[in-house]
Protein backbone atom coordinates (compact mmCIF):
# COMPACT_ATOMS: atom_id res chain seq x y z
CA UNK A 1 0.00 0.00 0.00
CA UNK A 2 1.31 3.48 -0.89
CA UNK A 3 2.40 5.71 1.96
CA UNK A 4 -0.14 8.30 3.09
CA UNK A 5 2.44 10.97 2.27
CA UNK A 6 5.70 10.42 0.41
CA UNK A 7 8.06 13.29 -0.29
CA UNK A 8 11.24 12.78 -2.29
CA UNK A 9 13.93 15.35 -3.03
CA UNK A 10 11.39 18.10 -2.46
CA UNK A 11 12.60 21.62 -3.18
CA UNK A 12 10.90 25.00 -3.25
CA UNK A 13 12.36 28.33 -4.16
CA UNK A 14 10.60 31.68 -3.65
CA UNK A 15 12.71 34.01 -5.76
CA UNK A 16 16.13 34.00 -4.12
CA UNK A 17 14.93 32.25 -0.98
CA UNK A 18 15.24 28.47 -0.88
CA UNK A 19 12.43 27.34 1.39
CA UNK A 20 12.98 23.59 0.92
CA UNK A 21 16.16 21.78 -0.11
CA UNK A 22 15.83 18.14 -1.14
CA UNK A 23 13.57 16.94 1.65
CA UNK A 24 12.70 13.24 1.90
CA UNK A 25 9.89 12.25 4.23
CA UNK A 26 7.32 9.52 4.49
CA UNK A 27 4.20 9.24 6.61
CA UNK A 28 2.83 5.70 6.66
CA UNK A 29 -0.85 4.73 6.86
CA UNK A 30 -2.09 5.37 10.39
CA UNK A 31 1.18 6.96 11.45
CA UNK A 32 1.38 10.19 13.42
CA UNK A 33 4.46 12.22 12.49
CA UNK A 34 5.48 15.49 14.11
CA UNK A 35 7.10 18.11 11.90
CA UNK A 36 9.36 20.39 13.91
CA UNK A 37 11.62 23.30 13.17
CA UNK A 38 12.12 26.98 13.91
CA UNK A 39 10.11 29.67 12.15
CA UNK A 40 11.04 29.83 8.48
CA UNK A 41 12.42 26.28 8.42
CA UNK A 42 10.03 25.30 5.60
CA UNK A 43 7.44 23.30 7.57
CA UNK A 44 4.38 25.15 6.27
CA UNK A 45 5.78 25.13 2.72
CA UNK A 46 6.12 21.35 2.89
CA UNK A 47 2.55 20.98 4.15
CA UNK A 48 1.24 23.39 1.48
CA UNK A 49 2.99 21.42 -1.27
CA UNK A 50 1.38 18.25 0.04
CA UNK A 51 -2.02 20.02 -0.15
CA UNK A 52 -1.45 21.37 -3.64
CA UNK A 53 -1.50 25.00 -2.50
CA UNK A 54 2.13 25.51 -3.49
CA UNK A 55 3.96 24.01 -6.46
CA UNK A 56 7.38 22.48 -5.81
CA UNK A 57 10.37 23.59 -7.85
CA UNK A 58 12.11 20.23 -7.43
CA UNK A 59 11.31 16.68 -6.38
CA UNK A 60 7.90 15.16 -5.92
CA UNK A 61 5.22 14.62 -3.33
CA UNK A 62 2.47 12.02 -3.41
CA UNK A 63 -0.59 11.58 -1.23
CA UNK A 64 -1.83 7.98 -1.02
CA UNK A 65 0.01 7.31 -4.29
CA UNK A 66 -1.50 10.28 -6.19
CA UNK A 67 0.58 13.33 -7.15
CA UNK A 68 0.14 16.11 -4.60
CA UNK A 69 -2.33 18.70 -5.86
CA UNK A 70 -4.25 16.25 -8.05
CA UNK A 71 -7.96 15.77 -7.42
CA UNK A 72 -7.31 12.22 -6.12
CA UNK A 73 -4.69 13.50 -3.66
CA UNK A 74 -6.95 16.30 -2.45
CA UNK A 75 -9.83 13.87 -2.03
CA UNK A 76 -7.67 11.77 0.28
CA UNK A 77 -6.56 14.52 2.65
CA UNK A 78 -7.86 16.91 5.24
CA UNK A 79 -6.03 20.15 5.92
CA UNK A 80 -6.00 22.73 8.64
CA UNK A 81 -3.98 25.80 7.68
CA UNK A 82 -1.93 27.74 10.20
CA UNK A 83 -3.80 30.92 9.28
CA UNK A 84 -7.33 30.22 8.17
CA UNK A 85 -10.73 31.78 8.48
CA UNK A 86 -14.24 30.72 7.70
CA UNK A 87 -16.86 33.18 6.47
CA UNK A 88 -18.22 34.93 9.55
CA UNK A 89 -21.79 34.74 8.23
CA UNK A 90 -21.76 30.91 8.21
CA UNK A 91 -22.78 28.80 11.18
CA UNK A 92 -20.55 25.92 12.27
CA UNK A 93 -22.99 23.46 10.70
CA UNK A 94 -23.03 25.38 7.42
CA UNK A 95 -19.23 25.44 7.26
CA UNK A 96 -19.16 21.67 7.53
CA UNK A 97 -22.04 21.31 5.05
CA UNK A 98 -20.13 23.42 2.50
CA UNK A 99 -17.03 21.26 2.93
CA UNK A 100 -19.14 18.13 2.64
CA UNK A 101 -20.39 19.34 -0.74
CA UNK A 102 -16.91 20.33 -1.90
CA UNK A 103 -15.36 17.12 -0.56
CA UNK A 104 -18.21 15.01 -1.98
CA UNK A 105 -19.05 13.51 1.36
CA UNK A 106 -22.51 11.97 1.37
CA UNK A 107 -22.69 11.34 5.11
CA UNK A 108 -24.95 14.31 5.69
CA UNK A 109 -26.08 15.67 9.04
CA UNK A 110 -24.87 12.60 10.94
CA UNK A 111 -21.26 13.31 9.97
CA UNK A 112 -21.59 16.98 10.89
CA UNK A 113 -23.02 16.11 14.30
CA UNK A 114 -20.30 13.52 14.90
CA UNK A 115 -17.50 15.91 13.98
CA UNK A 116 -18.84 18.80 16.04
CA UNK A 117 -19.21 16.44 18.97
CA UNK A 118 -15.66 15.16 18.44
CA UNK A 119 -14.19 18.67 18.78
CA UNK A 120 -16.50 19.71 21.60
CA UNK A 121 -18.73 22.02 19.55
CA UNK A 122 -21.93 19.96 19.68
CA UNK A 123 -23.80 22.87 21.31
CA UNK A 124 -22.47 25.44 18.84
CA UNK A 125 -23.77 23.94 15.58
CA UNK A 126 -26.00 26.95 14.91
CA UNK A 127 -23.58 29.56 16.14
CA UNK A 128 -22.17 31.91 13.52
CA UNK A 129 -18.41 31.81 13.04
CA UNK A 130 -18.18 35.56 13.75
CA UNK A 131 -19.59 34.89 17.22
CA UNK A 132 -17.01 32.21 18.05
CA UNK A 133 -13.88 32.56 20.12
CA UNK A 134 -10.52 31.89 18.46
CA UNK A 135 -10.32 28.52 20.18
CA UNK A 136 -13.78 27.52 18.94
CA UNK A 137 -12.86 28.54 15.38
CA UNK A 138 -9.71 26.46 15.67
CA UNK A 139 -11.69 23.44 16.77
CA UNK A 140 -14.16 24.02 13.94
CA UNK A 141 -11.14 24.09 11.62
CA UNK A 142 -10.12 20.66 12.86
CA UNK A 143 -13.67 19.35 12.35
CA UNK A 144 -13.63 20.78 8.82
CA UNK A 145 -10.35 18.98 8.10
CA UNK A 146 -11.98 15.70 9.12
CA UNK A 147 -14.93 16.03 6.73
CA UNK A 148 -15.08 13.11 4.29
CA UNK A 149 -12.96 10.75 6.43
CA UNK A 150 -9.55 11.70 5.03
CA UNK A 151 -6.75 9.11 4.99
CA UNK A 152 -4.15 11.79 5.62
CA UNK A 153 -4.58 14.77 7.90
CA UNK A 154 -2.23 17.72 7.54
CA UNK A 155 -2.41 19.94 10.61
CA UNK A 156 -0.44 23.17 10.62
CA UNK A 157 -0.23 24.43 14.22
CA UNK A 158 -3.64 23.05 15.21
CA UNK A 159 -3.36 23.98 18.87
CA UNK A 160 -1.84 27.45 18.56
CA UNK A 161 -5.06 29.20 19.65
CA UNK A 162 -6.24 26.64 22.16
CA UNK A 163 -6.26 26.75 25.95
CA UNK A 164 -4.92 23.72 27.91
CA UNK A 165 -8.32 21.98 27.88
CA UNK A 166 -8.63 22.53 24.11
CA UNK A 167 -5.12 21.15 23.60
CA UNK A 168 -6.00 18.08 25.58
CA UNK A 169 -9.14 17.63 23.43
CA UNK A 170 -6.96 17.72 20.32
CA UNK A 171 -4.46 15.26 21.82
CA UNK A 172 -7.26 12.81 22.61
CA UNK A 173 -8.64 13.36 19.12
CA UNK A 174 -5.26 12.61 17.52
CA UNK A 175 -5.00 9.39 19.48
CA UNK A 176 -8.51 8.47 18.37
CA UNK A 177 -7.59 9.17 14.74
CA UNK A 178 -4.46 7.07 15.05
CA UNK A 179 -6.59 4.23 16.35
CA UNK A 180 -8.84 4.63 13.29
CA UNK A 181 -5.82 4.35 10.98
CA UNK A 182 -5.73 7.99 9.85
CA UNK A 183 -2.22 9.23 9.06
CA UNK A 184 -1.36 12.62 10.53
CA UNK A 185 1.42 15.09 9.80
CA UNK A 186 1.41 17.47 12.73
CA UNK A 187 3.29 20.72 12.32
CA UNK A 188 3.68 22.20 15.79
CA UNK A 189 5.95 24.30 17.96
CA UNK A 190 4.68 22.60 21.10
CA UNK A 191 7.34 19.97 21.64
CA UNK A 192 5.68 18.47 24.71
CA UNK A 193 2.54 17.88 22.66
CA UNK A 194 4.47 16.28 19.80
CA UNK A 195 6.37 14.12 22.26
CA UNK A 196 3.12 12.93 23.80
CA UNK A 197 1.27 11.91 20.66
CA UNK A 198 3.66 11.40 17.75
CA UNK A 199 5.18 8.10 16.64
CA UNK A 200 8.00 9.85 14.84
CA UNK A 201 9.37 13.33 14.42
CA UNK A 202 11.14 15.08 11.57
CA UNK A 203 13.12 18.23 12.26
CA UNK A 204 13.61 20.81 9.53
CA UNK A 205 16.20 23.57 9.56
CA UNK A 206 16.72 26.05 6.73
CA UNK A 207 14.65 23.91 4.40
CA UNK A 208 16.55 20.68 5.02
CA UNK A 209 15.77 17.67 7.16
CA UNK A 210 18.39 17.66 9.95
CA UNK A 211 17.04 14.97 12.28
CA UNK A 212 14.28 12.45 12.36
CA UNK A 213 13.17 9.15 13.74
CA UNK A 214 11.13 7.45 16.44
CA UNK A 215 10.75 9.87 19.33
CA UNK A 216 12.10 7.46 21.94
CA UNK A 217 15.08 6.50 19.80
CA UNK A 218 16.07 10.11 19.32
CA UNK A 219 16.34 10.59 23.08
CA UNK A 220 19.70 9.56 24.55
CA UNK A 221 20.33 8.28 28.14
CA UNK A 222 21.35 10.95 30.64
CA UNK A 223 22.00 8.79 33.72
CA UNK A 224 20.03 7.49 36.69
CA UNK A 225 18.79 9.36 39.76
CA UNK A 226 18.16 7.52 43.04
CA UNK A 227 16.28 9.02 45.99
CA UNK A 228 18.02 7.92 49.23
CA UNK A 229 18.16 9.18 52.82
CA UNK A 230 20.79 11.76 52.11
CA UNK A 231 18.91 13.12 49.08
CA UNK A 232 19.27 12.48 45.34
CA UNK A 233 22.25 10.57 44.02
CA UNK A 234 23.02 10.81 40.36
CA UNK A 235 24.84 8.18 38.25
CA UNK A 236 25.81 10.11 35.11
CA UNK A 237 26.71 7.31 32.73
CA UNK A 238 24.26 4.68 33.91
CA UNK A 239 21.26 3.48 31.94
CA UNK A 240 18.09 1.48 32.53
CA UNK A 241 20.07 -1.80 32.55
CA UNK A 242 22.26 -0.57 35.40
CA UNK A 243 19.35 0.16 37.78
CA UNK A 244 19.09 -3.28 39.51
CA UNK A 245 22.85 -3.29 40.22
CA UNK A 246 22.82 0.28 41.59
CA UNK A 247 19.84 -0.42 43.86
CA UNK A 248 21.34 -3.71 45.11
CA UNK A 249 24.62 -1.99 45.89
CA UNK A 250 22.91 0.84 47.79
CA UNK A 251 20.84 -1.61 49.87
CA UNK A 252 23.92 -3.65 50.56
CA UNK A 253 25.61 -0.48 51.80
CA UNK A 254 22.67 0.09 54.18
CA UNK A 255 20.94 2.88 52.27
CA UNK A 256 17.15 3.27 52.21
CA UNK A 257 15.98 3.59 48.57
CA UNK A 258 12.78 5.64 48.06
CA UNK A 259 12.73 5.96 44.30
CA UNK A 260 14.67 5.54 41.07
CA UNK A 261 14.42 7.61 37.87
CA UNK A 262 16.06 6.77 34.56
CA UNK A 263 16.96 10.05 32.87
CA UNK A 264 16.68 10.51 29.12
CA UNK A 265 17.05 13.63 27.07
CA UNK A 266 13.72 15.29 26.30
CA UNK A 267 12.51 16.02 22.79
CA UNK A 268 13.25 19.63 23.56
CA UNK A 269 16.93 18.81 24.11
CA UNK A 270 17.01 16.71 20.93
CA UNK A 271 15.37 19.56 19.05
CA UNK A 272 17.76 22.19 20.42
CA UNK A 273 20.73 19.99 19.54
CA UNK A 274 19.39 19.62 15.98
CA UNK A 275 18.61 23.25 15.30
CA UNK A 276 21.49 24.67 17.32
CA UNK A 277 19.31 27.31 18.94
CA UNK A 278 18.22 28.71 15.57
CA UNK A 279 15.05 30.76 15.37
CA UNK A 280 13.48 32.82 12.57
Amino acid sequence: MAAALAVRGLGKRYGRVEALRGVDLEVGEGELVGLLGPNGAGKSTLVKIACGLVRPTAGEATVCGAPAGSAAARAALGYLAELFRFPGWYTADEVLALHQRLGRSDRGAAERRELLDLVGLADAADRRVEAMSKGMSQRLGIAQALVGRPRLLLLDEPTSALDPVGRRTVRVLLEELKARGVAVLLNSHLLSEVELVCDRVAILLDGALVAGGVTEELARPRGVEVDVDGGMRRYEHAGRADVPGIVARLIRDGEQVYGVRVLRSTLEEVYLDAVGGATE
Partner: protein
Protein backbone atom coordinates in the same frame (compact mmCIF):
# COMPACT_ATOMS: atom_id res chain seq x y z
CA UNK B 1 -19.67 24.12 -8.99
CA UNK B 2 -23.14 24.85 -7.62
CA UNK B 3 -21.78 24.83 -4.06
CA UNK B 4 -19.33 27.63 -4.84
CA UNK B 5 -21.89 29.65 -6.82
CA UNK B 6 -24.28 29.40 -3.86
CA UNK B 7 -21.40 30.30 -1.53
CA UNK B 8 -20.84 33.49 -3.56
CA UNK B 9 -24.53 34.35 -3.52
CA UNK B 10 -24.76 33.74 0.22
CA UNK B 11 -21.75 36.01 0.68
CA UNK B 12 -23.55 38.78 -1.19
CA UNK B 13 -26.76 38.27 0.75
CA UNK B 14 -25.40 37.75 4.25
CA UNK B 15 -22.71 40.37 4.20
CA UNK B 16 -25.61 42.74 3.65
CA UNK B 17 -24.11 43.82 0.34
CA UNK B 18 -27.50 43.18 -1.18
CA UNK B 19 -29.39 45.07 1.49
CA UNK B 20 -27.15 48.13 1.08
CA UNK B 21 -27.36 47.94 -2.71
CA UNK B 22 -31.16 47.58 -2.70
CA UNK B 23 -31.53 50.51 -0.29
CA UNK B 24 -29.21 52.81 -2.23
CA UNK B 25 -30.78 51.78 -5.54
CA UNK B 26 -34.22 52.60 -4.15
CA UNK B 27 -32.90 56.04 -3.15
CA UNK B 28 -31.43 56.51 -6.64
CA UNK B 29 -34.63 55.44 -8.40
CA UNK B 30 -36.69 57.75 -6.19
CA UNK B 31 -34.41 60.71 -7.00
CA UNK B 32 -34.47 59.73 -10.68
CA UNK B 33 -38.27 59.60 -10.58
CA UNK B 34 -38.37 63.01 -8.87
CA UNK B 35 -36.02 64.58 -11.43
CA UNK B 36 -37.86 63.02 -14.37
CA UNK B 37 -41.23 64.08 -12.96
CA UNK B 38 -40.21 67.76 -12.70
CA UNK B 39 -38.39 67.66 -16.03
CA UNK B 40 -41.52 66.59 -17.91
CA UNK B 41 -43.73 68.89 -15.80
CA UNK B 42 -41.55 71.84 -16.88
CA UNK B 43 -41.65 70.59 -20.46
CA UNK B 44 -45.47 70.70 -20.39
CA UNK B 45 -45.46 74.24 -18.97
CA UNK B 46 -43.28 75.44 -21.85
CA UNK B 47 -46.03 74.55 -24.28
CA UNK B 48 -45.50 73.20 -27.78
CA UNK B 49 -42.11 73.83 -29.43
CA UNK B 50 -41.91 76.82 -31.81
CA UNK B 51 -41.29 74.51 -34.73
CA UNK B 52 -42.15 70.87 -35.28
CA UNK B 53 -38.56 70.18 -36.28
CA UNK B 54 -37.47 68.97 -32.83
CA UNK B 55 -39.45 66.51 -30.79
CA UNK B 56 -38.76 67.91 -27.31
CA UNK B 57 -40.37 64.93 -25.57
CA UNK B 58 -38.02 62.51 -27.35
CA UNK B 59 -35.08 64.82 -26.75
CA UNK B 60 -35.80 65.13 -23.01
CA UNK B 61 -36.83 61.49 -22.60
CA UNK B 62 -33.81 60.02 -24.40
CA UNK B 63 -31.45 62.35 -22.58
CA UNK B 64 -32.82 61.57 -19.13
CA UNK B 65 -32.95 57.83 -19.91
CA UNK B 66 -29.33 58.11 -21.05
CA UNK B 67 -28.58 59.54 -17.64
CA UNK B 68 -30.43 56.62 -16.05
CA UNK B 69 -28.39 54.18 -18.12
CA UNK B 70 -25.17 55.84 -17.06
CA UNK B 71 -26.22 55.50 -13.42
CA UNK B 72 -27.25 51.88 -14.05
CA UNK B 73 -23.84 51.09 -15.48
CA UNK B 74 -22.12 52.85 -12.60
CA UNK B 75 -24.16 51.05 -9.91
CA UNK B 76 -23.71 47.70 -11.66
CA UNK B 77 -19.98 48.33 -11.91
CA UNK B 78 -19.74 49.16 -8.19
CA UNK B 79 -21.54 45.94 -7.36
CA UNK B 80 -19.36 43.89 -9.72
CA UNK B 81 -16.17 45.38 -8.32
CA UNK B 82 -17.11 44.79 -4.70
CA UNK B 83 -18.14 41.21 -5.40
CA UNK B 84 -14.91 40.32 -7.20
CA UNK B 85 -12.05 42.41 -5.82
CA UNK B 86 -10.98 39.90 -3.18
CA UNK B 87 -11.88 36.60 -4.82
CA UNK B 88 -8.32 35.23 -5.03
CA UNK B 89 -5.56 37.19 -3.33
CA UNK B 90 -7.83 39.02 -0.92
CA UNK B 91 -9.48 35.79 0.26
CA UNK B 92 -6.10 34.02 0.35
CA UNK B 93 -4.62 36.75 2.54
CA UNK B 94 -7.55 36.43 4.92
CA UNK B 95 -7.20 32.63 4.97
CA UNK B 96 -10.66 32.08 3.45
CA UNK B 97 -9.49 30.57 0.18
CA UNK B 98 -7.09 27.82 1.27
CA UNK B 99 -9.66 25.50 2.91
CA UNK B 100 -11.73 25.66 -0.30
CA UNK B 101 -8.85 25.16 -2.76
CA UNK B 102 -7.64 22.07 -0.91
CA UNK B 103 -10.95 20.34 -1.59
CA UNK B 104 -11.14 18.27 -4.79
CA UNK B 105 -13.00 20.95 -6.72
CA UNK B 106 -10.28 22.20 -9.02
CA UNK B 107 -9.07 25.78 -9.24
CA UNK B 108 -10.68 26.31 -12.65
CA UNK B 109 -14.09 25.30 -11.34
CA UNK B 110 -13.60 27.40 -8.23
CA UNK B 111 -12.74 30.58 -10.13
CA UNK B 112 -15.42 30.03 -12.74
CA UNK B 113 -17.99 29.47 -10.00
CA UNK B 114 -17.01 32.66 -8.19
CA UNK B 115 -17.34 34.54 -11.51
CA UNK B 116 -20.75 33.01 -12.21
CA UNK B 117 -21.83 33.78 -8.63
CA UNK B 118 -21.05 37.48 -9.07
CA UNK B 119 -22.61 37.52 -12.56
CA UNK B 120 -25.76 35.92 -11.12
CA UNK B 121 -26.06 38.94 -8.81
CA UNK B 122 -24.91 41.73 -11.14
CA UNK B 123 -26.81 40.85 -14.32
CA UNK B 124 -30.34 40.70 -12.85
CA UNK B 125 -29.55 43.81 -10.84
CA UNK B 126 -28.45 45.80 -13.92
CA UNK B 127 -31.43 44.63 -15.99
CA UNK B 128 -33.89 45.48 -13.20
CA UNK B 129 -32.44 48.97 -12.65
CA UNK B 130 -32.44 49.65 -16.40
CA UNK B 131 -36.09 48.68 -16.78
CA UNK B 132 -36.87 50.66 -13.63
CA UNK B 133 -35.39 53.74 -15.31
CA UNK B 134 -37.32 52.98 -18.55
CA UNK B 135 -40.60 52.72 -16.60
CA UNK B 136 -39.93 55.94 -14.68
CA UNK B 137 -39.19 57.89 -17.88
CA UNK B 138 -42.11 56.31 -19.74
CA UNK B 139 -44.52 56.75 -16.85
CA UNK B 140 -43.61 60.38 -16.24
CA UNK B 141 -43.17 61.65 -19.75
CA UNK B 142 -44.58 59.11 -22.12
CA UNK B 143 -41.19 58.56 -23.76
CA UNK B 144 -40.37 54.96 -24.62
CA UNK B 145 -37.03 53.96 -26.14
CA UNK B 146 -36.75 52.47 -29.62
CA UNK B 147 -35.18 49.25 -28.30
CA UNK B 148 -35.56 47.58 -24.90
CA UNK B 149 -33.83 44.20 -24.87
CA UNK B 150 -30.63 45.20 -26.63
CA UNK B 151 -29.66 48.08 -24.29
CA UNK B 152 -30.54 45.92 -21.26
CA UNK B 153 -28.38 43.06 -22.50
CA UNK B 154 -25.51 45.39 -23.41
CA UNK B 155 -25.52 47.15 -20.05
CA UNK B 156 -25.54 43.74 -18.34
CA UNK B 157 -22.68 42.59 -20.61
CA UNK B 158 -20.73 45.74 -19.70
CA UNK B 159 -21.08 44.84 -16.02
CA UNK B 160 -20.03 41.23 -16.76
CA UNK B 161 -16.87 42.59 -18.43
CA UNK B 162 -16.11 44.63 -15.28
CA UNK B 163 -16.69 41.55 -13.09
CA UNK B 164 -14.26 39.56 -15.27
CA UNK B 165 -11.64 42.32 -15.01
CA UNK B 166 -12.18 42.36 -11.23
CA UNK B 167 -11.59 38.59 -11.04
CA UNK B 168 -8.44 38.84 -13.20
CA UNK B 169 -7.10 41.65 -11.01
CA UNK B 170 -7.88 39.68 -7.85
CA UNK B 171 -5.37 36.99 -8.88
CA UNK B 172 -2.52 39.52 -8.78
CA UNK B 173 -3.57 42.34 -6.46
CA UNK B 174 -4.75 42.65 -2.89
CA UNK B 175 -8.38 43.72 -2.44
CA UNK B 176 -7.74 47.43 -1.98
CA UNK B 177 -5.23 47.69 -4.82
CA UNK B 178 -7.52 45.72 -7.12
CA UNK B 179 -10.54 47.86 -6.25
CA UNK B 180 -8.59 51.03 -7.02
CA UNK B 181 -7.21 49.55 -10.25
CA UNK B 182 -10.59 48.39 -11.57
CA UNK B 183 -12.30 51.69 -10.72
CA UNK B 184 -9.50 53.62 -12.41
CA UNK B 185 -9.83 51.44 -15.48
CA UNK B 186 -13.59 51.96 -15.41
CA UNK B 187 -13.06 55.72 -15.13
CA UNK B 188 -10.60 55.63 -18.03
CA UNK B 189 -13.22 53.93 -20.18
CA UNK B 190 -15.76 56.63 -19.38
CA UNK B 191 -13.21 59.33 -20.15
CA UNK B 192 -12.62 57.65 -23.51
CA UNK B 193 -16.33 58.08 -24.26
CA UNK B 194 -16.22 61.78 -23.37
CA UNK B 195 -13.09 62.21 -25.43
CA UNK B 196 -14.88 60.77 -28.44
CA UNK B 197 -17.68 63.28 -27.96
CA UNK B 198 -15.17 66.13 -27.77
CA UNK B 199 -13.50 64.77 -30.91
CA UNK B 200 -16.81 64.83 -32.75
CA UNK B 201 -17.52 68.36 -31.46
CA UNK B 202 -14.13 69.57 -32.70
CA UNK B 203 -14.38 67.47 -35.83
CA UNK B 204 -11.04 65.85 -34.97
CA UNK B 205 -10.76 62.45 -36.57
CA UNK B 206 -7.58 61.66 -34.63
CA UNK B 207 -9.21 62.25 -31.23
CA UNK B 208 -12.24 60.25 -32.33
CA UNK B 209 -10.00 57.35 -33.41
CA UNK B 210 -8.06 57.42 -30.11
CA UNK B 211 -11.35 57.48 -28.18
CA UNK B 212 -12.73 54.58 -30.20
CA UNK B 213 -9.64 52.41 -29.64
CA UNK B 214 -9.69 53.26 -25.92
CA UNK B 215 -13.38 52.45 -25.56
CA UNK B 216 -12.89 49.10 -27.32
CA UNK B 217 -9.95 48.31 -25.05
CA UNK B 218 -12.42 48.90 -22.23
CA UNK B 219 -15.41 47.33 -24.01
CA UNK B 220 -17.87 48.14 -21.23
CA UNK B 221 -17.69 51.72 -22.54
CA UNK B 222 -18.26 50.63 -26.16
CA UNK B 223 -21.20 48.48 -25.00
CA UNK B 224 -22.65 51.43 -23.09
CA UNK B 225 -22.33 53.62 -26.20
CA UNK B 226 -24.02 50.95 -28.30
CA UNK B 227 -26.81 50.67 -25.73
CA UNK B 228 -27.25 54.47 -25.83
CA UNK B 229 -27.43 54.31 -29.59
CA UNK B 230 -30.06 51.58 -29.45
CA UNK B 231 -32.57 53.61 -27.42
CA UNK B 232 -32.77 56.27 -30.16
CA UNK B 233 -31.85 54.22 -33.21
CA UNK B 234 -35.03 55.17 -35.10
CA UNK B 235 -34.82 58.86 -34.21
CA UNK B 236 -34.00 60.99 -37.23
CA UNK B 237 -33.85 64.59 -38.40
CA UNK B 238 -33.23 67.60 -36.19
CA UNK B 239 -34.13 65.66 -33.04
CA UNK B 240 -31.27 63.26 -33.84
CA UNK B 241 -28.87 66.18 -34.35
CA UNK B 242 -30.03 67.78 -31.11
CA UNK B 243 -29.52 64.47 -29.27
CA UNK B 244 -25.98 64.15 -30.57
CA UNK B 245 -25.20 67.62 -29.28
CA UNK B 246 -26.43 66.70 -25.81
CA UNK B 247 -24.52 65.15 -22.92
CA UNK B 248 -25.35 61.63 -24.08
CA UNK B 249 -24.66 62.20 -27.69
CA UNK B 250 -21.61 59.97 -27.47
CA UNK B 251 -23.79 57.10 -28.54
CA UNK B 252 -22.10 55.04 -31.18
CA UNK B 253 -23.20 51.88 -32.85
CA UNK B 254 -20.91 48.93 -32.20
CA UNK B 255 -22.88 46.30 -34.03
CA UNK B 256 -22.05 42.63 -34.36
CA UNK B 257 -18.35 43.39 -34.42
CA UNK B 258 -18.57 44.76 -30.87
CA UNK B 259 -20.46 41.70 -29.62
CA UNK B 260 -17.86 39.34 -31.11
CA UNK B 261 -15.07 41.49 -29.68
CA UNK B 262 -16.71 41.47 -26.23
CA UNK B 263 -16.99 37.67 -26.28
CA UNK B 264 -13.34 37.36 -27.32
CA UNK B 265 -12.31 39.92 -24.68
CA UNK B 266 -14.15 37.97 -21.97
CA UNK B 267 -12.48 34.78 -23.19
CA UNK B 268 -8.99 36.29 -23.04
CA UNK B 269 -9.55 37.91 -19.63
CA UNK B 270 -11.07 34.69 -18.30
CA UNK B 271 -8.31 32.49 -19.69
CA UNK B 272 -5.67 34.86 -18.27
CA UNK B 273 -7.27 34.74 -14.85
CA UNK B 274 -7.53 30.93 -14.91
CA UNK B 275 -3.94 30.35 -16.05
CA UNK B 276 -2.59 32.79 -13.45
CA UNK B 277 -4.73 31.30 -10.67
CA UNK B 278 -3.76 27.71 -11.50
CA UNK B 279 -0.06 28.65 -11.36
CA UNK B 280 -0.33 30.78 -8.24
CA UNK B 281 1.13 29.64 -4.91
CA UNK B 282 -1.32 30.26 -2.08
Amino acid sequence: MTAIVVYGLQEALRRRIFAVVVLLTAVFLFLFWLGTHYLFADLESLGPPPTNAIDTRTLAGATVLGLGMFATLFLGAVLAVFLTIGVVRGDAERGLLQPLVVRPVGRTTLLLSRFLGSVAVCVPYTVIVFFGAVLIVGGNGGYWPDRYALPAVELAAAVVVIAAIGILGSVFLSSTANGIAVFMFFGSGLVAGLLGQIGRGLNSERIERIAKVASWLAPFEALYQDALHAITQNTVGFTRIALELGPFGGAEQGGLQLRVWTAAYLGVVGAGALVAFVRRDL
